[in-house]
């Protein structure tokens, strides 16, 4: 019962956060220079036409009124407005691009988790030895490199010099035709319809950007794994377990890891949210037609509805991930107080 109350409170808190984020975005976009209407209208348009377009886009209203209408449309119709630059509903644009970015981020995260957990555990078990130091250096290097630069270097090596990577031109060779969208994930969709040429090409195009996403996500995960494993290993009951003579493998994997899992899980959620929102530079280097590229173009074009929609979506995603993780933790960890 207490858990249910906590869950409901936690769920309700999402609403003001999203409203607040939307309001801040609203104010921020209104400060952006560049009247988007001027560009859409072109040099031939008369002053009346521009005024009419301003009216249509509601840009003639006070910001607060624009905001309330925006929220009303969003809540009542699920409408995020129409993009100035693509002339299509923002919700549709985002819906098409979300799986494109998710595929990249998720695979990158999976690779990072697969690498980070062993690295972190090994560092914790062999705390303060050379293994630990090596793990530390490797993961710190991962977060120290500018990822757009890393992208260029990998391309220089694998595309220009060795010729094993495809050109950085998006998700698929242009000669291939994307299968009908089922999930929007090219690997999954092509596998479902058995189009292996598309599958191979999609995987080849994913390889380098996935490695880069993984490389930067590796460090925080490995460090968090290490420190929570150390905490767990030094806790009283593990000491007890050791004293009782349980095998080390059992201690590490069945007891310590289980207890260290909660902070690691939280960290994974956080890193995932950040990675999804911060993928712009990777997407730009690889011409990935995902949300990052979309947001970059939207900002350059002062495309207010597109920017708002994008930020709202990412924030929603971020907040929901944390919500799920928090609830999960609350459900499995009796120590959490539902304060």
């Amino acid at each position: 019962m207490r858990f249910l109350g906590y869950a409901i409170r936690r769920l309700l808190w999402v609403i003001p956060v999203l409203l607040g984020v939307t309001l801040i975005t609203f104010l921020l976009t209104r400060v952006l220079p560049g009247n988007p209407i001027d560009r859409v209208a072109g040099p031939f348009a008369s002053a009346e036409q521009k005024a009419e377009m301003m009216r249509e886009a509601r840009l003639d209203l006070p910001v607060i009124q624009q905001f309330s209408l925006y929220v009303r449309d969003l809540v009542v119709h699920g409408d995020l407005g129409v993009s100035y630059s693509t002339a299509r509903p923002v919700a549709q644009d985002l819906w098409e691009r979300l799986p494109i970015s998710l595929e990249l981020t998720t695979l990158g995260m999976l690779l990072a988790i697969v690498l980070a957990l062993p690295l972190g555990i090994a560092s914790a078990v062999a705390k303060d030895t050379w293994v630990d130091q090596l793990g530390r250096v490797v993961s710190v290097i991962g977060v120290s490199m500018p990822i757009f630069w890393l992208g260029l270097i990998l391309l220089q090596v694998f595309f220009v010099k060795l010729g094993v990577a495809p050109a950085p031109l998006g998700r698929l060779a242009t000669s291939l035709i994307e299968p009908e969208r089922i999930t929007g994930w090219l690997l999954i969709d092509s596998a479902l319809v058995g189009d292996w040429a598309v599958f191979r090409s999609a995987a080849a195009h994913l390889a380098l950007p996935v490695v880069i996403v993984a490389f930067t996500a590796l460090a925080p995960l490995a460090r968090m794994t290490r420190s929570s494993m150390i905490d767990a290993l030094e806790s009283d009951y593990i000491r007890t377990a050791r004293a009782l003579g349980l095998p080390t493998r059992v201690i590490i994997f069945q007891h310590a890891l289980k207890n260290a899992l909660i902070p690691i899980l939280t960290m994974i959620a956080g890193v995932f949210g950040y990675a999804l929102g911060g993928e712009v530079l990777v997407e730009l280097v690889f011409a990935w037609p995902g949300l990052g590229t979309y947001s970059y173009n939207a900002i350059l074009a002062s495309d207010f509805p597109a920017i708002q929609g994008f930020i709202l979506l990412i924030t929603l995603f971020y907040v929901l991930i944390y919500l799920v993780v928090d609830l999960l933790i609350a459900a499995i960890d009796p120590r959490v107080e539902y304060a």
Binding site: V137, S144, T216, P220, A275, G277, I311
Partner: protein, 301 residues
């Protein structure tokens, strides 16, 4: 961008259960000296600082000396890192770039640390409704996609050095506010603070004279890490054209210039400035990583 880099530090001090004690600067030094990788970071940073300070003495060329006759030369004995498309000497530009990028990092961190600490300090000290409202606002700010937020700010302010500093600083204010608030909350409960109040000191006086100085070490540790990320984010902004403009000797700009040379195989144009960023951020991170133990209340140095 490595946006999520704030997480390790934040996660350790975040949440109400982790209430770090005010650590002293002497502890920081002690920790550093006994940590091999941190020492490496310190040495690297010293070298970079020296390079930045002595750039006019070391650099063989004027970083803005344009000479198209020697454009895009590969590394050789007179141009160690080669030249870019305008014939600028890349080695000299990397050295001068250190000045600019370190300046950006320090200015950005200083701005965010001061503003964030004041917000967090006041919020934590006053408590109750003010605290609740402030922290919820910080929640919202932190829910933004970091780099997009920086791009928006940079675009709104127009390109330039100041813009880069403001945009990267704005990102980190909530982090500092949260850290300082948690520090103050725990420090408030100490005997020391209570007696300061008991002998009749005013609220602001206790906060600024007694509590802030004790929170200095954790703030400094966080700042070390933040400096590295500020450099990465600033370079990212310049890379996509929203930061400092060509032909400024700034590492992000230099990589962007190198991107234009990518297809022609002039790898040196972007490789060296990127390495410079990597090494500098690495230095900050190695130092910060070692110092992080200080932030952890469960461990004594």
């Amino acid at each position: 961008m490595s946006n999520f880099n704030t997480l390790p530090a934040a996660a350790l001090v975040d949440g109400d259960d982790a209430a770090p004690q005010g650590a002293r600067l002497a502890d920081a030094w002690w920790t550093l000296r006994h940590n091999f990788t941190s020492m490496i970071g310190l040495v690297l940073l010293t070298i970079i600082l020296l390079a930045a300070l002595l750039a006019p003495l070391i650099a063989p060329y004027d970083p803005y000396e344009l000479d198209l006759a020697r454009a895009t030369l590969p590394p050789n004995s007179s141009h160690w890192f080669g030249t870019d498309q305008f014939g600028h000497d890349i080695f000299s530009r990397v050295l001068y770039g250190a000045r600019l990028d370190l300046l950006i990092a320090l200015a950005s961190v200083a701005v965010s640390a001061v503003i964030g600490s004041v917000i967090g300090g006041v919020s934590g000290y006053v408590g109750r409704f003010v605290d609740e409202a402030t922290m919820r606002l910080m929640d919202m700010l932190q829910a933004f996609p970091r780099f997009i937020f920086a791009m928006g700010i940079a675009f709104a302010l127009g390109p330039g050095l100041l813009t880069v500093i403001v945009a990267t600083a704005a990102l980190n204010i909530p982090g500092y506010a949260r850290l300082m608030r948690n520090l103050i909350l725990s420090l408030k409960q100490t005997q020391y603070a209570m007696s300061a109040v008991a002998i009749g000191n005013s609220g602001p006086r206790v906060l600024f004279r007694h509590l802030f100085p004790n929170a200095l070490a954790p703030i400094l540790v966080t700042s070390t890490l933040q400096s590295g990320w500020a450099i990465l984010e600033a370079a990212g902004l310049s890379f996509i054209g929203l930061g400092v403009a060509v032909p400024t000797a700034e590492w992000g700009v230099m990589i962007a210039m190198g991107l234009q040379e990518f297809l022609q195989g002039h790898w040196w144009v972007y490789t060296f400035p990127g390495l410079a960023i990597g090494v500098t951020v690495l230095a900050f991170n190695l130092i910060g990583d070692g110092l992080q133990d200080l932030l952890d209340p469960r461990r004594t140095p």
